[in-house]
């Protein structure tokens, strides 16, 4: 890593840590921004890098929420009794019980979602192109409907989680750092993963899966592992969201296919798919755009958002980084170089 790059990363890290203290009124907004960044980066792992456009990643978000809730509650009380007594009954959680439940629940959500990605992937990775998108969307919608009819986890009313033992402002800071920490770990993980053979393998699947098979790649294995890794992180942020929201219900919050489920795709398209920074830049732009329209153009916010999606999908498919790559290919390492030049300045 060059010195400039190291300085940039340290500066970013300082900014990330300082942000909730510099902008104390925006803690929840910043936490949501991290959520957008994480779901976009993970969507890009399959959608951008591997060419499998999943519309069902929201399944892992919703499932993560429920798994985290069930684990956190189940460690102390009987889940059925707890949800049955909605509003009534008295269920107290000590500080220890809260934090143990939270951490075990969040990690459990990630692990459960990774395993379910293997199972769902096994069934859906035979589908290609738009059929995969529709197939995965179907899984997410079906899951939402099933869960909303499952009384043990609260049915359509959803679940209420224990409340953070401390003041509300500290709670917001705590949630911010949970999201930010996950995001930083994900970013470091992907910067490493995208330098390995693994990235080349999933890029090959994206460019021509039949060719990849003919060259002997274990295509299904790569696809399953990629989706499981993405699902792990989505499950984790689902779990964090569950504790952030305290109460959530299945259709509008957990398996929110038309909101977050679509937003993550738009973020990636806006920033530029198949790149490390594209989804991050896209998520920031999208989140700012969304918040500005929600605040200043209330009543027209969905129209503005729809227009943004249409313009991005129709005229700007390669996103910001894709456009930059077209204008400045040399910034992305595209060059013609003969042997003398190669000796003079050896490639990395």
């Amino acid at each position: 890593m060059s010195a400039q790059k190291a300085i940039l990363y340290v500066a970013l890290l300082v900014l990330i840590v300082a942000a909730p203290f510099l902008f104390p009124d925006y803690k929840t907004q910043l936490a949501t921004l991290w959520l957008m960044i994480i779901v976009s980066l993970t969507w890009d792992m399959t959608g951008g890098q591997m060419g499998y456009n999943s519309l069902g990643n929201i399944f892992f978000y919703g499932t993560g929420m429920y798994v985290a809730a069930v684990i956190a509650i189940g460690m102390v009380y009987d889940v059925g009794e707890y949800t049955n007594a909605f509003g009534g009954g008295k269920f107290d959680f000590t500080d220890d019980q809260y934090f143990t439940g939270l951490f075990v629940g969040i990690i459990g959500a990630g692990v459960f979602c990774a395993l379910s990605a293997f199972a769902i992937g096994w069934l859906t990775f035979g589908l290609r192109g738009p059929y995969f998108a529709i197939g995965t969307l179907g899984v997410a919608i079906a899951a939402g409907e099933l869960v909303s009819n499952w009384d043990w986890v609260g049915g359509g009313q959803g679940i209420a989680l224990p409340v953070y033992p401390g003041d509300f402002d500290n709670f917001k800071t705590f949630i911010y750092f949970l999201f930010a920490g996950t995001g930083v770990v994900l970013f470091i993980f992907l910067s490493w993963l995208y330098q390995t053979r693994f990235r080349a393998a999933i890029n090959a699947i994206r460019d021509d899966e039949e060719k990849a098979e003919a060259m002997g790649l274990h295509t299904l294995r790569y696809k399953l592992v990629t989706w499981a890794m993405a699902a792990f992180f989505v499950g984790i942020v689902g779990g964090i969201s569950a504790f952030q929201l305290i109460h959530f219900e299945p259709l509008e919050t957990a398996y929110q296919t038309i909101n977050l489920g679509i937003f993550m795709v738009v973020c990636v398209l806006l920033g530029g798919k198949g790149t490390l920074w594209g989804p991050i830049i896209g998520a920031i732009l999208f989140h700012v755009f969304k918040e500005v329209t929600w605040n200043y153009f209330l009543g027209w916010q969905w129209v503005a958002l729809g227009a943004l999606i249409v313009v991005t999908v129709v005229y700007f498919q390669d996103g910001l980084l894709g456009w930059l790559r077209l204008k400045k290919p040399e910034w992305f390492g595209v060059r013609v170089e003969n042997k003398q030049q190669a000796v003079a300045e050896p490639a990395e």
Binding site: T196, R197, D207, D208, A214, M215, G216, L217
Partner: protein, 247 residues
């Protein structure tokens, strides 16, 4: 020379169309074998059957004495039996070097190793092979932006990177300009002699195939019409009739 691929009585039909009927042939190890025939005579179907692209209706296909007709495409590729496509297929959004690096032999790669970077030797080998096919200067360009002929050369280099035992080439010279063809013939020969790769080639360019192959098989209407040395094939009246349309 021992036999490396043995095809016996292979038939394949698509609905009512009999693409291959009772085809038998052998490919000797270390040689160059040709497969010719008019358009639609079933050459590519036979290639597809050999590499496991579709199940065959009957017959047997053996590679190094092992029955492979029930195996799937990637399994057969990992055995070291590789094919290139008639409609050239490369990874278009990746540059040439990346295309080469992901083409390393996967039969040797354990899954855990896919989480490592490519070794220095692999980089050197990739650049060496790109130099071998004359694409060294363009190695950092998006491979999808190369011309069709250059993509064909890249696909050939990728196949060599995979260190196959046998390489099935589907019309390697189609779409390549005449001056480049001579260079390509030379490279195919060198792949055979220097790297020891057995070649099995579908080709329409008679000058190319007659120059290169030791043995040639000729298909027509999905059936084996003739086989023999280039001289025998060239003077076989049935082959001439098939190509001129007397059949």
């Amino acid at each position: 020379m021992s036999t490396i691929i043995e095809v016996q009585g292979v038939s394949k039909s698509y609905g009512g169309v009999k693409a291959n009927t009772d085809i038998s042939l052998t490919v000797p190890e270390g040689g160059i074998t040709g497969l010719i025939g008019p358009n639609g005579s079933g050459k590519t179907t036979l290639f597809n059957s050999i590499v496991g692209y579709h199940p065959i209706d009957g017959g047997s296909i053996q590679f190094q004495g092992k029955e492979i007709s029930k195996l799937l495409v990637p399994d057969i590729a990992r055995l070291g039996l590789l094919r290139t496509f008639q409609q050239t297929r490369i990874y278009g959004a990746m540059n040439c070097v990346e295309n080469m690096l992901i083409s390393t032999p996967h039969r040797k790669l354990r899954f855990i190793e896919s989480f490592r970077r490519n070794s220095k030797e692999e980089h050197e080998r990739a650049e060496h092979l790109l130099d071998f096919v004359g694409l060294y200067e363009k190695r950092y360009l998006r491979s999808g932006s190369l011309s069709f002929g250059q993509q064909k050369l890249l696909e050939f280099a990728m196949a060599l990177m995979n260190e196959p035992t046998v390489l099935l080439l589907d019309e390697p010279t189609a779409g390549i300009n005449p001056t480049l063809i001579n260079g390509l013939i030379d490279r195919l020969r060198r792949a055979n002699t220097e790297f020891g790769i057995t070649l099995f080639i579908i080709e329409h360019n008679m000058r190319v195939i007659m120059n290169m192959a030791d043995t040639i098989y000729c298909l027509a209407h999905g059936e084996m019409l003739a086989s023999g040395s280039p001289d025998e094939i060239q003077n076989d009246q049935r082959v001439i009739d098939a190509y001129l349309g007397a059949h």
